[in-house]
């Protein structure tokens, strides 16, 4: 699975890193970034929760 994260939409709510701490983190300004762009299948449930939790819809799955 491949992910993109639109940092211009990120408001820094912190939900993605709570849901999938091995895939998302936040920089020192609080803006999210991807720790890995192609996480393995073991991360699928966590990534789906991160996408559903993001209040600004900044995360997208571009390749399932």
């Amino acid at each position: 699975m491949r992910l993109t994260l639109d940092t211009s939409r990120c408001a820094g709510a912190g939900q993605c890193a709570l849901a999938a701490p091995d895939v998302f983190d936040h920089d020192e300004e609080g803006v999210a970034y991807l720790l890995q762009t192609e996480p393995g299948d073991q991360e699928r449930a966590a990534v789906e929760e991160a996408i559903a939790s993001c209040p600004t819809r900044a995360i997208a799955l571009i390749d399932h």
């Binding site: 820094g12 709510a13 912190g14 939900q15 020192e28």
Partner: protein, 356 residues
């Protein structure tokens, strides 16, 4: 011909003051999208189905800004106050994103984790103080309201000498029973209070949020002084009575279900899950998010027309994952994803982390 519509109301039934208005439940069962009267001159679509509400809140074509044409203004206290209108929770991107990011790093889960020791110390102090009070005591006044005030005052950097007044103002400001005039008067006084704290931080900077916002945002011209005061007001009102309400409702719920409390106390069930589920069950933000459509948008088969506004009731009390059957709180043992105070463009982690 004049149509008669049900009046949108957030008033709970008198016999169950902690519940959502009964008509939400009836509508959810019989007519999940209904037209309701809002005030005397307007109508709105009221969505009561979880999936519809979720779709609306995560669709950027729905506006949170009360100045958007057709926004459902009436029927919620404080919606049209100047402080409320200028607050980031009433803004859309990109303004919302710009404002929200100013405090993003301050409310990241890991930053909030850093407050743990200080919050625990505050709670211990207040619990010890409870033991010295005569029975019966008012838990809300003696504990639930004071703990968030203490925590927020420390976070913001309110000097110890000003804390009693800060707490008084905060408590009055978040009281929904005030008349509109009273509410505006206390908001004005709180704004003045904010100006004094900012002036103080300019003279004596500290390691706190007001100092940081003053130096990094006010002095750089990114925020004006009234905007900064509005920001502080929003942070205070977002974290104060939400947290206090959760303390009170959670304690009451656990007292009503002693067998659940026993399982938690013995360690057979996790407190962490219980907190999540209690947040979901009680949904302390009563007023319900409102939005205005900025386009013609289809939601679950219903066309929401441009400029037709609508209100949304409390969302999560009937979340599909919730196992609340006939008043039985089996819910506390399950965890099906986290509870949200808000989807859409809200301050999710802000409320969620602080209230936890």
């Amino acid at each position: 011909m004049r149509r008669i519509l049900p009046q949108y109301s957030l008033t709970p039934p008198a016999e169950a003051p902690l519940d959502e208005p009964a008509y939400f439940g009836r509508l959810r069962a019989t007519c999940p999208v209904s037209e309701v009267a809002v005030g005397t001159e307007m109508s709105a679509l009221l969505f009561t189905k979880y999936d519809d509400v979720k779709a609306i809140l995560s669709d950027p074509r729905f506006s949170s800004n009360p100045l958007t044409p057709g926004f459902p203004f009436h029927g919620a206290p404080g919606a049209d106050s100047p402080v409320s209108v200028g607050s980031m929770i009433r803004q859309d991107p990109p303004v919302h994103t710009r404002l929200r990011r100013m405090v993003a790093k301050d409310f990241l889960p890991r930053t909030v984790e850093g407050y743990r020791d200080s919050v625990c110390a505050t709670i211990d102090e207040r619990v010890e103080a409870l033991a010295l009070l005569p029975d019966p005591l008012d838990f809300i006044e003696a504990f639930a309201l004071t703990v968030p005030s203490d925590v927020i005052a420390k976070m913001l950097g309110v000097p110890a000498a000003d804390e009693p007044r800060f707490q008084e103002l905060t408590e009055v400001m978040t009281t929904l029973a005030l008349s509109r005039e009273e509410q505006y008067a206390v908001m004005d006084e709180f704004t003045e209070f904010c100006y004094r704290i900012v002036a103080l931080k300019e003279r004596e900077p500290g390691d706190d949020l007001v100092t940081r916002l003053t130096y990094e945002r006010l002095h750089t011209g990114e925020l004006t002084l009234p905007e900064l005061a509005g920001f502080i007001t929003m942070l205070v009102s977002a974290g104060h009575d939400t947290t206090a309400g959760m303390f009170g409702l959670s304690v009451l719920t656990l007292l009503k279900f002693p067998e659940q409390l026993a399982l938690l106390k013995s360690g057979e069930r996790s407190w962490e899950n219980a907190v999540e589920e209690l947040i979901r069950i009680h949904t302390v933000v009563r007023m319900g998010p409102r939005r205005a459509a900025t386009d013609d948008i289809e939601i679950g088969g219903t066309l929401v027309r441009l400029e037709l506004y609508y209100g949304l009731p409390r969302l999560f009390a009937r979340y599909p994952g919730l196992r609340l059957v006939d008043g039985d709180l089996a819910a506390l043992e399950y965890r099906e994803g986290r509870a949200f105070f808000g989807l859409g463009k809200l301050l999710v982690s802000l409320g969620e982390s602080r209230s936890a």
